[in-house]
Amino acid sequence: MLTIANLIKKFQQPGGGELTVLDVPRFEIANGEQVALIGESGGGKTTLLHLIAGMLAATSGSIRIDNIELTRLSEQGRDRFRAATIGYVFQTFNLLPAFSALENVKLGMSFGNGRVDHARAMDLLDRVGLADRANYRPKQLSVGQQQRVAIARSLAGRPKLLLADEPTANVDPASADLVLNLIIDSCRDESIALLMVTHSMEVAGRFERIDRLEDINHIPALKQV
């Protein structure tokens, strides 16, 4: 599903020069596989997810997803690819406040093939236990409920790869368990490959495969200066 080879990401520094934050010689995820990637803060976890999602362009190397070489796509091509292939769950949910829960889920379908499936959106809300909150605005929902809507949104476009960036970091322990179960179970049910970055060993412990960022990234977090 996902194959990364010799991936390097550098950022221009304000004072001139470049800062290398990622150097990943090899990283792979198989179809439907669920992987927890743990690492310290500032280790480049989010940058790696942004690169895999095509929201950032790699400096060099290869990112191949579902047999598509992402680094050869234009920005517009990466946008299209992301909309059709990748789901993303953020640490801070990032629901759009102007839209209801149902509309937020539908937004997850709007930028792919453009077809909005109302029944699927309702089904996803039902699956995360929020069908009766479909018309609620984000600010009318609890933090845990907002993250569940965000999960439903990430699944709306029938992605092949779900990227989850510390999805339980901002929710209470009871909700965290529910959120984690939802993500893991949904990906299993729909055969979606899952890459979840976390700094929590407790969360990572729920995964069969656990990778440490420092094992795959040759740029240690403390040396990114």
């Binding site: 989010t46 929201m55 517009q76 946008d79 801070t92 937004l107 709007s110 949104r153 476009g157």
Partner: protein, 453 residues
């Protein structure tokens, strides 16, 4: 979920800001529509009022515009008069001889054709005597020909009609020479009607009363012309008012009128005692009008003016530029309102960057988020523009009766003035231009740096 819907949701989410921005645009558009409507109404009223059936106004030498304003619009300061003999120049010998016999004067006047009679052939010349007032309204001395021969309306084919009574007559046993007709506005404003008496004052609205009243025999139907705000009195009665007879010169040759001793009618003023303020002339063949106009102007005694030409000059020199300036100012208001759209959306961009980044993370292209912002501008433009247009038309429609009374111009709810149809596209274009700056900010929004982890 299409981009327009997303823009609509954003518009509604920022309800207060959207409302205020839309309101400012609505007021701008409403003002422009109102000014355009006023422009159209004023232009139409001027042209309409000048289209009264006659093609020339003849009066004393001086300002042609003042002559037109006096004789057609019953406005401006009163002007000097012409001797009655000037009026007689528009008639053939036999008619001139009848006048001499009836009023008394120099018999030689009836021995030749008037110098302009050949030009008029088949048309008419109607005398007006101005100078008196009834309250704020001008009193117009004229003959029954005024009501029989003049026409009004868009096609200048409608005769004057009366909502009550009839046109005045030269003489009736009951009222003798003292009959008058009220314009519709005069009747409405004074409350007077048929059977009442109108007492004119001399010289100005606050002038001395003549003591002699005129019996009101008719109230005209509204015409939408200045005639609605005039009082028409019988010219012979007007002459008989105190102070209206011109002193007879010592060397004047006067043969008294031929009168039947049993004639109950009081004697009229003789020709040397008579004056007219102006003469409304229609040529039987309008091709003769320029020749006659030149002839009159070269005579040195009088001037002839084409009312429509004078009014067009007034429009193009004074009224038109004033209205154009007003229009430009209101268009600037629209531009300022559109600038408000820019400021309102741009100010909200800080709040939106995260939303835009989220949409981009969900797969929205840069072009898509740019269009969302432009669509929001479009929504403000369409709602503000349409509401402003509608509001202005409702206001114009609400004032329709007043406008018709004042100008004769009828306005419907959806009477559209010239170029008004360009306004909404103009506002949309303006708003889209205003939306470009925030839209470009949306285009440039960086996903990574604007997304919280």
């Amino acid at each position: 979920m299409n981009l327009l819907f997303i823009a609509w949701r954003n518009f509604r989410y920022r309800a207060l800001s959207s409302f205020l921005t839309t309101l400012s645009l609505m007021l701008g558009v409403g003002l422009v529509v109102l000014v355009m409507a006023i422009y159209g109404i004023v232009s139409e009223a001027f042209v309409r009022n000048a289209a009264v059936g006659y093609n020339l106004v003849v009066g004393p030498r001086g300002s042609a515009l003042q002559l037109t304003l006096n004789s057609v619009y019953y406005l401006s300061q009163p002007i000097e008069n012409l001797p009655y003999t000037e009026f007689m120049e528009f008639f053939p010998a036999e008619e001139r001889a009848r006048m001499v016999r009836e009023y008394g004067g120099d018999p030689a006047l009836g021995e030749r054709d008037g110098v302009y009679a050949g030009f008029v052939a088949g048309g008419y010349a109607i005398p007006l005597a101005l100078g008196d007032y009834f309250g704020e309204f001008r009193v117009v001395g004229t003959t029954p020909d005024f009501f029989e021969k003049l026409r009004h309306g868009p096609e200048v084919d409608q005769p004057f009609t009366f909502q009550d009574g009839r046109a005045l007559k030269t003489f009736t046993p009951e009222n003798q020479y003292f009959e008058c007709v009220l314009g519709s506005r005069v009747a409405a404003q004074t409350g007077l009607g048929v059977g009442d008496t109108m007492n004119p004052t001399h010289g100005d609205p606050e002038g001395k009363g003549h003591g002699q009243g005129f019996q009101i025999v008719g109230v005209m139907s509204p015409t939408g012309t200045p005639n609605d705000r005039a009082v028409f009195v019988n010219l012979e009665g007007f002459y008989l008012l105190e102070g209206h007879a011109k002193p007879i010169e010592d060397d004047a040759i006067i043969v008294p009128p031929e009168r039947d001793p049993d004639d109950p009618r009081p004697p009229l003023l003789m020709i040397p005692e008579r004056e007219v303020t102006s003469i409304l002339v229609r040529n039987g063949n309008v091709m003769f009008a320029p020749g006659m106009q030149n002839r009159i102007n070269e005579s040195g005694r009088a001037q002839a003016a084409a009312p429509i030409g004078e009014i067009n000059k007034l429009m193009s020199m004074i009224v038109g530029p004033l209205l154009s300036a007003l229009l430009v100012i209101t268009l600037i208001t629209c531009v300022v309102a559109a600038f408000g759209v820019l400021v309102a959306i741009y100010n909200s961009m800080n709040d939106r960057r995260r939303d835009i980044a989220v949409m981009r993370a969900l797969g929205a292209r840069r072009g898509s988020v740019t269009w969302v912002i432009l669509f929001e501008s479009l929504i403000i433009a369409i709602i503000g523009g349409a509401a402003g247009w509608l509001l202005a038309h409702i206001a114009i429609y609400g004032a329709g009766t007043f406008i018709e009374q004042q100008t004769g111009v009828q306005v419907g709810l959806f009477s559209v003035s010239q170029f008004e149809w360009l306004l909404l596209p103009f506002v949309i274009l303006l708003s889209l231009l205003a939306g470009i700056v925030p839209a470009m900010a949306a285009y440039r929004t960086d996903v990574g740096s604007n997304l919280s982890a």
